[in-house]
Every structure is written in C-alpha cells, then in structure tokens.
C-alpha cells in the first residue's frame, strides 16, 4: 500500500501546473463559471488546441491516435488539475474521455480516420443525443426512430436536455432501430452531423449559469448508414461500454475543493468574521471533498490494475454529489448575502450542487446501484 504519488506522477503534475500557470495566469476568470457555458466554448476550443499541441489533450489514447502512454494515475492528475481550474476544456472533456474511446472501440477504419484526429486536435465539439421527453432516467424507453432507407437511416423524434447542442459539430445519437424489440434491445448509435437538413436545435434557458440546454427536433433527418457506430440494434451495449470508459466520471470533488478554498480565501481577504457554525460547515465540506477524492482513487486504482469496472464507481459518484452539496452549504455560510450576487462562487456552487444530483444519472439511481451492487440488497 502506498499513498504517495510516484515520482513520474509528481513530475507530470509539475509540468502540467507550469503549463497551466502560463496559459491560465492567476485565477482564470472562468474558473468558477459553470462548465459548458456558451461564452466559454470558444475559449475551450482554443485551449484544447494548446493542450493537444503539448500532448495533454488525449494522453491516454493509443499512440496511433495521438496518445502519449499516460497511466490512469496520470490521467487522474490531468483531470484534477483541469477541474480544479474550472475545467477549461469545456465540452472537449466528453470528446476525449468517452466519445473518442467509443469510436476507437467500435468504429470502422473510416469512422476512426474521420472523427478521431479532430478530437485529438481539440478542434471539434460533440454533443450527446440521449434523453427524450419521456425517456430521462429510464433512458431505455427512448423512442426516436431510425428507419433504414437505402444506404441511409431516416430519423424522426426529439431529444432534450442536450448540452452544447447549439455549438456542436456532431452528435452521438441514440435511436431506436427495432421498435418491436424490448427496451434495451433494438437501439443503435448514430454519429450525426449537426448541420444535417431536418434537424432543428432550440435552446432551453436554464438557471445553471449561462449553460443552456437544447432540444433537438429531428424530422426526416437522413444519416448515412456508414455513420452507425457498432452493430445495428446493439447500441445499448455500445453506449454502456462508452460511459464505463471514464468509470467514475469527472472529478467534481476537485472543483468543489477549489471553490471552497477560493471562497475561504475571499472571506479572509475581506476580514469577514467566520462564526463557529460556518467553521463547522467548512470542515464538513472539506472532509466530504477528501472522502470523494479517496473513493475516486479507489476506482482509479482498479483501473490501473486492469480490473473490470465495479460498484466502487457508484460509491464514488454518490460521495461526489455529497461533496458538491456540502461545499455549496459552506460557501453560502461564508458568503452570506453575496450568494445572491449573480456569479458569486456560492451562487454558482449552489446551482451546480442542485444539478449534481440530476446530471449524468440521478443521485437516487446511484444509491440504488450502491444498495444492489455494493451491499447486495435485493431490487424492490
């Protein structure tokens, strides 16, 4: 057992920090902004290009596609350093961590040639077309229909809560190709160009920062059959595997810990009196961030040992939501009235913490998975 970082990981972090110090001088003004805000998207595109030039955008990918042989621990270092600075990769995060790897695993040679180099160069934005009005947590009940027509699919339906839909170049789209099949069967993945005729994108203004959701309306959108990723009707397995690539998801604890530190620093600089109950709230938040960090490390440790995905990832996800919420409470206590100032760190953290239990799988579903897989409790 060893809780100290390896020398190579320490060096990796130092080099990365030096690079980020140069590229993100001082406090990057978007550091506490909500991930994926439209105004940050262009910045993210430029920044991802710089990361790509330095080999830090897709270091975990195979050398053939621009990887540098980074270990899972190095990838963890990369995630921590970037998330603690507000995730300046923005929407690129999704590309490099699961869309690219999914294309590598299931894509044809032509698909890999077409889609992977732009991702590795940081020059493309993807969105995911998963949720539908009637298929949220119950994603397998999705109804957007794709019907073969010659060498194309004709797609009709709608998607909702799609982040980056208004700025994305491509969509990783889940469709039903066999309406007679039961739930998880009969689903396929299509790689759809966002400039396809028949596709309409409407923004849905949201309260989580500038981050707007979008709704996609698909009316007879023709997607080449050559853009199907993996076998027809077996898309559910493809997407499940895709999402397991990153296993524990984004290291949200790192961002929460950063916001907590920054807010505490803000209070100190202003000479604010920090009352006892606030000290307790800060302590609870700090402990929760550390708990989430350790639980994430357990998942990374599994990955470093080439072990299959386990329920440890669900445990870590639950802990990260708790860390986000306790950090929001602590920041609100530290900032008092300032929480109402639009864009204050406590305001943003509160809004982010509200979304943390909903986005990328609800808190309740994660608890179900912990109960069943981790504790062995029966399904109701």
């Amino acid at each position: 057992m060893e809780f100290d970082w390896a020398e190579e990981d320490v060096s990796y972090r130092s080099e990365l920090q030096a690079f980020l110090q140069d590229e993100l001088p001082g406090r990057w003004e978007g550091a506490t902004a909500v991930l994926g805000s439209a105004e940050n998207a262009e910045y993210s595109r430029r920044f991802a290009g710089l990361l790509a030039d330095e080999g830090w955008l897709t270091p975990h990918w195979p050398a053939e596609w621009g990887g540098t042989g980074a270990t899972p621990w190095m990838l963890a270092v990369l995630g921590e350093e970037l998330w603690s600075r507000g995730e300046p990769r923005g929407p690129q995060y999704m590309n490099v961590n699961w869309i690219g790897p999914s294309i590598m695993a299931h894509g044809t040679a032509e698909q890999c040639e077409r889609y992977l180099p732009p991702i590795a160069a940081g020059d493309v934005i993807w969105c995911q077309g998963f949720s539908e009005p009637e298929a949220g947590t119950d994603l397998a009940s999705l109804r957007t229909r794709a019907v073969p027509d010659g060498d194309h699919y004709v797609v009709n339906g709608s998607k909702i809560w799609t982040s980056y839909g208004d700025i994305a170049d491509h969509c990783y789209l889940l469709v039903r190709t066999d309406p007679g099949a039961e739930r998880h069967h009969g689903i396929s993945v299509l790689l759809m160009d966002m400039d396809s005729p028949g596709l309409e994108v409407r923004p849905i203004p949201g309260m989580v920062g500038e981050h707007s959701f979008t709704e996609l309306f698909l009316s007879d959108v023709r997607v080449p059959a050559a853009n199907r990723l993996g076998p027809e009707n077996e898309g559910w397995a493809v997407v499940r595997e895709a999402l397991s690539f990153e296993r524990v998801g984004a290291p949200r604890w790192a961002r929460a810990a950063y916001v907590l530190d920054e807010t505490l620093q803000w209070a100190r600089e202003l000479g604010r009196v920090i009352e006892e109950s606030t000290v307790e709230a800060v302590g609870r938040a700090k402990a929760a961030c550390e708990a989430a960090r350790m639980l994430c490390y357990r998942v990374i440790d599994e990955r470093a040992r080439d072990l299959p995905p386990s329920p440890h990832a669900n445990v870590a996800r639950v802990a990260m939501v708790q860390a986000e919420r306790l950090t929001a409470d602590a920041c609100a206590a530290l900032q008092g009235n300032e929480i109402m100032r639009y864009g204050s760190s406590s305001d943003l953290q509160t809004r982010k913490s509200l979304a943390a239990g909903v986005a990328a799988g609800t808190y309740e579903v994660q608890l179900n998975l912990v109960a069943r897989r981790h504790l062995g409790l029966p399904k109701s």
Partner: protein, 310 residues
C-alpha cells in the same frame, strides 16, 4: 379561550384578496423574465393595505402580515416584502406613507450589499446592534442577482438611530417565515403532483419511495414551519416577551424546511426544474433570497439561545 390555530374570518378574507391579486397579476414564472416589480402588482398590494400592515396608521398586525405572506409565498411573488414590514415597524408614519402607498421602496439589510438598493429610496441598516435610517454616500452600485432583483452595493451613512430594532426584526422574521413555509409548501405540492404524473420504468415515479419519502419528510417540516410562523406572529401581536425568540425559531425552521423543499423539488423535477420557464426555478431562487432576510441566520440563532437563557 384555548388554542386556536386558524386565521380569523377577516384574516382569511385578506388572504383571499392577496391570492386574487397574485392570480390577476400572473405571478409565477413570468415574474422573473419581466420587470422585477410589476407596478400593477405592487400598487395592488398597496391598495389592499398590505404594505401598511403593522403600522400605526395601517392597522392589522403580525398575523395579518403572516396571512398575506403565506399567499405571497405560495405564488413566489416578488418585491421587498420583508423590508417593507420591517420599515413599517421602525419609521414614523409620515416617512412610511410613500412606502405603504407603493410609491417608494425600502432597502433593509446589512451594508454594503443591500436588497433592492438599486431601486430603493429609503435605506435602513438593520443589525443585531440596532437599526438606523440611512442614506447612501453615493448612488448604490447595481448588483445583478440570481433572482433578478435590483440589489445594490452601497456605503450607507447613518442619519438617525431607530432603536434596538429587536421588535422590527422579529416582525420581519415572522413575515419571512410565513412566506418561506408557504413557498416551500407550494413546491412540495407541485413536486408531488409531478411525481404522480411522470412515468418512468412504466410506473409513476411517485411509486418509488426514493421519491415519495423525501417529499413526505419535507411536507412534515413545511407544515410545522407554517404553524411556527403563525405562532410567532401571534406572540408579536400579544407582546409576548418570548416573541423575538419565537420569530427566530420560526424563521430558522422555515429556512431549513424551505431550503430542503427547494432541493427536493429540483431533484423530483429533474432537468425541468433547472429551466427558467419551469415551475421550480423562480420559487427556489426566491426561497434562497428570503432565507437571508431580514438579519443573518447567525443573529437568529443567537436570539434563540437568548430565549433559552444561554
């Protein structure tokens, strides 16, 4: 006469009038993306006498304020409501008149960041040390807030001491508690309805105890908070020495239950809860706003302890 937890006929009539006004003015989600304080609504409150409640000239007392605030909370209605009632308890009738008539707005709080400062004409500093009528040294710097209210950062110069402010703060806390409890009750109601309507996995999500139990728990605390707010208002009207502590207890209880209800409503509605046009966001933001007024929660905690002789 023994305990009676119901509002009087007159208080219920006032509540119905406020409810009717809010319905006519279309309070709700529309409030956040139109003007911060629709004139028709605010002058309507003035016409009903709501803004003068608790003042020597206006009649009515804390229970009338609580009855009105419960309705306003149920609609997620905007405005410097708590500040207005606090001002009514502190200012001379002539100073209060333009505020009670809806012609001026009061900004009541702890500088520098003051609620409604960018639109207010009357400024009152209220803290645990006392209350002061103030004026800004320079025009308040407007501050954009998440709930769309025109707050401002101002350096205030004290003009006149308005006393220890304890009774006024208690009135404000009871008013805030009534609003918060009712806003939270509204969120629990609409989240429960949504849970009954929303089908996932071939069943209404309300049939999952992971959904229904938290809502039930919220309902318990919200119900308690609503009664505590009425109790505090009654204590103020009866000049009960325990009134400041009762108001502080009610306010802290309401903040806790409203915050929990807002969270649970967001969780139940999922992504819809985060949309600006959805039914949750504007109420949850108002709950956050009201949870800060009229004094920091730390002051309320101290007041509760003082009530216990600590």
């Amino acid at each position: 006469m023994g305990l009676d937890l119901a509002y009087s006929v007159e208080q219920q009539e006032l509540a119905r009038s406020v409810d009717g006004l809010c319905r006519r003015c279309g309070t709700g989600a529309g409030f956040t993306d139109s003007e911060p304080l629709p004139q028709k609504y605010w002058s309507g409150l003035a016409d009903l006498g709501v803004l003068a409640l608790g003042t020597a000239d206006g009649g009515g007392g804390s229970l009338e304020i609580a009855a009105a605030m419960e309705q306003l909370g149920a609609h997620g209605a905007p405005g410097p409501l708590v500040g207005t009632f606090v001002a009514g308890a502190l200012l001379d009738p002539s100073e209060m008149e333009p505020i009670a008539e809806g012609r001026q707005l009061a900004s009541v709080g702890q500088p520098p960041l003051m609620p409604w400062a960018a639109a207010a004409e009357v400024f009152i500093e209220l803290s645990s040390e006392g209350a002061w009528l103030c004026e800004p040294a320079t025009a308040p710097e407007p501050v954009e807030t998440t709930a769309g209210e025109p707050w401002g950062r101002a350096e205030l110069q004290r003009l006149r001491h308005l006393g220890d402010g304890i009774s006024a703060a208690a009135l404000g806390e009871a008013a805030a508690a009534a609003y918060l409890a009712s806003a939270a009750g509204h969120l629990v109601d609409i989240a429960s309805q949504y849970a009954k309507d929303r089908v996932q996995f071939n069943r209404p999500i309300a049939t999952f105890q992971a959904i229904s139990h938290p809502l039930a728990s919220c309902s318990v605390s919200v119900t308690a908070s609503r009664i505590m707010a009425r109790e505090a208002a009654s204590a103020i009207d009866n000049r009960d020495p325990d009134a400041p502590a009762a108001a502080a207890r009610a306010r802290l209880s309401a903040v806790a239950s409203a915050t929990a209800a807002a969270y649970q409503a967001h969780q139940t509605f999922g992504a819809i809860g985060f949309t600006i046009e959805g039914p949750v966001a504007h109420v949850s933001l108002r709950i956050r706003q009201l949870s800060l007024q009229p004094l920091p929660q730390a002051a309320a905690r101290t007041r509760v302890l003082q009530g216990l002789g600590v």
